[in-house]
């Protein structure tokens, strides 16, 4: 089984969207906490509104298994934002020298 990891923004774009006739994306979290979709959703893609999906890199992955609710996805997004904030806070800020 191959899967592709997607980020929060990509997830927003495909959430509740069709990837082909009568087939909806179902992004899930794998056991490592990555948001993933599967090779069938990539290989059978016909929805040109999300054509970027076909260029996702597929990798072998063990599967996990729970579909998140909207609330859980929001919680996952908040985690990403909080992680970014931590990164920003710990980033070394160099003074800017301005020549007058």
């Amino acid at each position: 089984m191959k899967i592709a990891i997607i980020n929060a923004e990509q997830h927003r774009e495909i959430y509740e969207q069709l990837y082909s006739d009568n087939m909806y994306f179902n992004p899930i979290l794998d056991k490592d906490g990555n948001m993933i979709i599967t090779e069938q959703e990539i290989d059978q893609l016909t929805n040109q509104n999300v054509a970027w999906v076909s260029s996702l890199i597929k990798v072998e992955k063990d599967s996990q298994l729970k579909t998140l609710t909207k609330e859980e996805w929001i919680a996952e997004d908040i985690k990403v934002i909080e992680q970014k904030l931590v990164e920003l806070k710990t980033k070394e800020i160099k003074p800017i020298q301005i020549k007058l």
Partner: protein, 285 residues
Amino acid sequence: MKDKLYITFLPPTDVAIWQPETIAYLGAAVIPDDTSLYFGGTAYQITGAEIWTALDACVVGWKTDLGLTLFQNNLSTRFKYIYPRIGGTAATHALNLVDPTLYTGTFSGGWTHDGSGALPNGTNGYMNTGFIPSALSVTNCSFGFDSKTDTNGLFSDFGGIDTSNGDVNMYTRVSGNNNTRLAGNGVNSAVAVADSLGLFAIKRDNTLNYKAYKEGSVLATHTVTSRPIFNSTIPITEAAQNANGSIIQYSPRKRTLLFGGLSMTDTEVADFTTTWRTLETTLNR
């Protein structure tokens, strides 16, 4: 020479040839009764006309098995949904033979559809029937599916779990057991089973127990100790379990049939299975 009189008898044009359900289902699937070829070059190659003949024979068989009048739109008096997976696409596999305008399935995640049936990927593929069990009485219901894959694991092949109001679930084979739940007390009932191939069903017709079947034979009679009610608001999903709204335990088993409806007797389950198997043989799957 005397003139000869030729009399030709033409059949009246309003005589029904097909069962109403066959006409509605294959009409919705856009499979014409002609020489159009499906799944050409595969083991499942078949013409539209052959599909019509085979499916209609199955519908006639089921109606005969269940004592229903032929040429009446009456499968709905015994079933809520039957998905026979004919046509080889997600659109056709989502159609309900009982009434193609009701409980059209919604596929999500990874599936492969072709002439051999519908194969979920076991990672995120499932189908929502949209059917809520409370539309049936817990003491008068049956559910089942036809499995084409022999695996042993914690995979739910159909299920809707509402822990407050009644459960339906089928672990076809896990730890060597057929492990099911039918409005029980939140506990599955298990019975040893040799493999996960064939038509598996559960049915209940009383407050005390329910039965599990494999390919028309009784696997077990399971005692139900509590909750003889069926107020679930959780739709039944296929190839995964809808556990209070969360989709879990995805199954990798290929399937060609999913059904749910009123209870059946042991004989009816056996006959229903035999009739279905005849269609499957015709379709070479």
